[in-house]
Amino acid sequence: MSTKASRSAARLMISPAVILLLMWMIVPLVMTVYFSFLRYNLLSPGATPWAGWDNYYWFFTDPSFKDAIWNTLALVGGILLITVIGGIGFALLLDKPMFGTGVIRIMVIAPFFVMPTVSALVWKNMFFNPVNGIFGNIATSLGFQPIDFFAEIPLLSIIFIVSWMWLPFATLILLTALQSLDQEQLEAAEMDGANWGNRFWFIMLPHLARAITVVILIQTIFLLSVFAEILVTTNGGPGTATTNLTYLIYVSSLLQFDVGMGSAGGVIAIILANIVAIFLMRMIGKNLDA
């Protein structure tokens, strides 16, 4: 539905975005793959001999690699579970008529505006600290032994912190979707004898399917790269208990200056992300018609 003139204008207008993104994707990608086959450490300048698959071999056989994969999956999966289920619950609640909707909504959204470094430090010091933190204080005043969160349940603590930031996001999207549900559909279902559970399962949940897909898609993109929360709380520890793939690669490339090894890790991270991406894109293809 257009003319030749507008089609060529369209090609011209889309090209800066395409070219820039293409460069942003291809150049570093090629370099990463290339580096991953070199013995290349920033601390030992000079020759960077060909290393073949060595970097991959060392990276794969490094016990922390297995831990990192597991931690990455646990982080993403755990946070998705909490935010999607919690988000549906919050959305159902906030969709009900109440006083001061605006104020309550502002309070619920607020954590999304808090930068990762701040939320991590605040939770770490003001809440999780066994001596001076609020949780420790509550436990002590009730006569319990306070939990040392980052020593005893480090990964769960990180999941908790990151979920706090993303729960508002999931809530908002699901609430928006819920509000677009035609009330007459629910009333029709009620007339048809469906109780609340039926209405939720057969009408609300299918209506939310697209929104849930969006939540999962967008959050996964961000959650695969959780970094700052780990950096300022546990530094990946104790041991490798909270080291995810992103953090592991950061350690080998920018702390141990092993470019080859870090790049090999980067390639693996990209492959993993692509597996997840293909899976997700399938889901969007089905649920998004944009």
Partner: protein
């Protein structure tokens, strides 16, 4: 001036040819209506003239100039869209001024033309409102105002009344006709409504699947439809069409007679007989939908309002034999 000619114009979307080679002449000052069922290519044809689509081959001339490759803005045409396409963020005044602003018309001249258009279209009190605050009919008038002030060579209308309710539609139809009489500018008007076509046009172009089926004045089309398609499309209620032995009696393969050309009589006096299915009493007229005539499933007859038959009554029908339309095996008119 506004003489538009199309020479061997075609349009394809990918492999699909929506307009096969087509020639058409639109004279200066004419009110031409493109009419046809949805998907017949009438809107595409209008958009080709507007320059919003490229022709695949052929040539479009406007006032003798080859306009085939001119961008829309350079064709000195103005268009009124089906959705009115008003700029929602601008006041009525700014909407009407927009084409003049683009053309660099001096401010005082802009002001003069806006006020003239507003007066002619009864929009003077609404000039500072936004389109969102106007009724459908008012929006339609703003769209027309925006077209008028450009003083174009021709106006293009793309189903402009289809978003209005029935009562407004009749009113706007008259307004557009009067506008045409006053401006004497060429107007090309697309509609799927044959009543609009009949009432407004100097010249009707009936389209089907991108082909021109017939071009002519409303009465020419009514009196002498060139083929079965035009016969069935023009006129309301539609022509009764039948074939077989009854048609052969008129010396035709297929024959047609309009509802208003059949007289309702008692069964004994009738040339044909039938049973009333539904009688629609409109007061001024009565429409009978008649079954069991041996002609077709249902025969529609338009009778005066005081003819009182009801469901199940047997009646006789007398066609005006001089007004029976005859068609051959290809569906073309025979004299």
């Amino acid at each position: 001036m506004g003489r538009i000619t199309l020479e061997k114009v075609t349009k394809s979307f990918g492999d699909v040819e929506v307009i096969p080679p087509l020639d058409l002449e639109i004279e200066d000052g004419e009110f031409v209506v493109f009419v046809g069922p949805s998907g017949c290519g009438k809107s595409t044809l209008l958009r080709l003239i507007a320059g919003l689509e490229d022709v695949t081959s052929g040539q479009i001339n406007i006032d003798g100039q080859d306009a085939t490759d001119l961008p829309p803005a350079k064709r000195s045409l103005a268009m009124v869209f089906q959705s009115y396409a008003l700029y929602p963020h601008m006041s009525v005044r700014k909407n009407i001024a927009f084409p003049m602003r683009m053309a660099g018309v001096p401010d005082d001249e802009q002001k003069r033309r806006i006020e003239a258009a507003a007066k002619a279209l009864n929009l003077t009190d609404y000039l500072d409102r936004r389109p969102g605050q106007l009724s459908g009919g008012q929006r339609q008038r703003v769209a027309i105002g925006r077209a008028i002030v450009r003083e174009p060579a021709a106006f293009l209308f793309d189903e402009p009344l289809s978003n209005l309710d029935a009562a407004l539609r009749v009113g706007m139809r008259l307004e557009i006709s009067e506008l045409h009489k006053r401006l004497e500018t060429t107007m090309v008007y697309v509609t799927h409504d044959q009543v609009e076509a009949m009432t407004m046009a100097d010249k009707i172009v009936v389209l089907r699947a991108g082909n021109i089926e017939q071009v002519g004045s409303p009465l020419e089309l009514y009196k002498a439809p060139r083929n079965l398609f035009v016969a069935g499309f023009i006129g309301s209620p539609t022509m009764n069409i039948f074939d077989g032995a009854e048609a052969a009696k008129f010396g035709a393969h297929t024959a047609g007679v309009r509802p208003e050309h059949i007289e309702v009589v008692s069964p004994e006096e009738g040339y044909w007989t039938g049973t009333v299915g539904v009688a629609e009493h409109l007061g001024s007229d009565t429409f009978f939908h008649i079954h069991e005539t041996g002609l077709a499933e249902t025969i529609t007859v338009r009778a005066p309002g005081d003819v009182a038959y009801n469901h199940g009554d047997k009646i006789g029908l007398n066609p005006r034999t001089d007004l029976v339309h005859k068609f051959d095996e290809q569906g073309l008119r025979v004299q």
